[in-house]
Point group: C2
């Protein structure tokens, strides 16, 4: 393992070149039979999207539990993706040079009410690359839950991967953070049994996001005095909760939330089982993924491993918000994976 | 402000001497009219207990929101108190030398459904000492919420206090911790509107206790692998949740919990308004009270102030669990207050 605090390479110039002739974007659904880690053999529909240079190196890109197969917009699929800042023509994950593959998480459609292991997600991705005739991916770039799945993929399907980039995700969940997620799931269960499921899901989401940002950001955004009347007090953070909760409820089913949240807590990879060159990105202020766990992971991996430690007010959400820092890291990592 | 990492004095020898002739223990209820900070003028019943040497110096002792006026057992009131380890004959708060006064928190009976400020609790204690003809207390020893109220008492009734000892409580609540408590209260509100209030209160308590202990303790106690079946996973921490939740529900009403939890978040004392000699105790691993807030507080107080920083696996709960460390701190502090 080696450590680096900052990265030497400047971002590549962002040329707004015309889309190359070879650019393609396609979506599909694979009907696959998966031997799941805990839930037996299941018939699953795995939705995928592939976009970029038709002869480019394949890069698998996966995000948090609320991310999906649409990483970035393209001429064919024009709606904004969840990682526009990092993926596209001239971006760090450059669709002029790479073919970007991503799936919707198994369970995200709310149709599978069973224990879903992060290993199952890795197997689903392996089934898709096999189906598409891709022998080997140049890189797997995963953030948050996607990083956990990337570690599973490297462990279980290392022969099909040249390079792993895992941002803010580890080989296990910390027990104290698991405890917080258990409460989130119990909130939803409380609402389910009582008919208040939308309100409950919004509340569970509010609890989740507290951990996604740093103490310092809460101080800056919500440090103002509450409004207090005789019978009720309202705290600054409540406006935030009331904004994000309903947005989340609109796009997430309770079953999907329960099973993907649980899946995070089922994460278990032996670091020694990973023999793929790896870049790990740790955010010092991350309250969800303790730095100590990423050191343990980095020390265990049996291949060249570099742990990049960055600092961000956004804590666990840095991969979405620290555009310049993350872009520089990705460009260096991809540059290395293509020249390895 | 001065800082000390450890304390010089050894614990005093614990003589199991006979109860002195002058020992008394009594309880009472004061009907008082209080001008509350947010809720207007209210008629309140304030329950108090006073025990110890009849001619001893008065020491006010207050704990967390679930503590009460019964700090320790006596011949007259034999049931165990919430701080037996620190209070009694031969203990750090020695009832052979001191008279220990404590109240049930205003709102603890669940009869007052209004915003209760920690300042109101300080005023209630001031009303009790006035009623009892106590001109001046030798010390106010407060832990957790009791420390917040102690700071209020020192700020508002400093003429009646010689010395403050505030353990694991600050002049304000940190906005990120307030956010966690807002979620706890919303869980209870969800349960109330849905009819599942006991389950909701147990769940809110589970969320609260996650913050009371350190990351390292969770690792030690709940770091074992979950039991996973096809449809359900059970994590080690769930046994703990299922044990503590019902215990809490048995002795706390939803209204009392909502109003005392809210009260913690209403805490607001200007450190500069405190002109009473003060010992602050900070626990490095406390996730509820950031160390930085206690430094700010210590720097602002306009009297001799000493900040004692201790380390404990038990985080915020150290005042209940670190018997030797806390005992040594209290003995030194009380020794100083009696000889000042």
């Amino acid at each position: 393992m080696s450590l680096s605090a900052a990265l030497p390479l400047p971002p590549a110039p962002r040329a707004d070149a015309a889309i190359p002739h070879s650019f393609t974007a396609e979506r599909g659904v694979l009907d696959a039979t998966l031997a799941m880690r805990h839930a037996g053999i299941r018939r699953l529909r795995i939705a995928w999207e592939l976009q970029g240079s038709a002869d480019g190196a394949v890069v698998i890109v996966q995000g948090g539990i609320s991310a999906n197969r649409h990483v970035a917009s393209s001429a064919r699929f024009g709606e904004a993706g969840w990682w526009e800042a990092q993926c596209g023509s001239g971006r760090a994950i450059d669709t002029r040079r790479h073919r970007v593959l991503a799936i919707d998480w198994v369970g995200a459609d709310g149709c599978l009410d069973a224990c879903i292991d992060p290993a199952d997600q890795a197997d689903a991705i392996a089934a898709v690359i096999d189906h598409l005739g891709i022998a080997r991916a140049a890189a797997f770039i995963g953030a948050s839950y996607g990083a956990m799945v990337g570690l599973q993929f490297a462990s279980r399907h290392g022969a099909h991967l040249e390079h792993l980039v895992a941002i803010s995700g580890a080989h296990r969940s910390h027990p104290q953070v698991t405890a917080l997620r258990v409460v989130q799931r119990r909130i939803v269960a409380l609402g389910r049994s009582e008919g208040g499921v939308r309100e409950a899901l919004a509340l569970a989401r509010s609890l989740a996001v507290i951990g996604y940002r740093s103490e310092a950001e809460f101080e800056q955004r919500f440090g103002t005095a509450p409004q207090v009347g005789p019978d009720a007090a309202r705290f600054a953070v409540e406006d935030y909760f009331d904004a994000i909760g309903p947005r989340f409820v609109a796009r997430f089913s309770p079953v999907a939330y329960l099973r993907l949240s649980e899946s995070i807590d089922l994460q278990s990879v032996a670091p020694e089982s990973i023999r793929v060159p790896t870049d790990l990105v740790a955010v010092a202020e991350d309250r969800i993924v303790p730095l100590a766990d990423l050191y343990t992971l980095a020390e265990g991996i049996r291949a060249r491993t570099q742990l990049h430690r960055i600092s961000s007010l956004y804590g666990h959400d840095a991969f979405l918000k620290e555009e310049a820092q993350i872009s520089a890291l990705l460009e260096t990592a991809l540059c290395r994976s293509l020249t390895a």
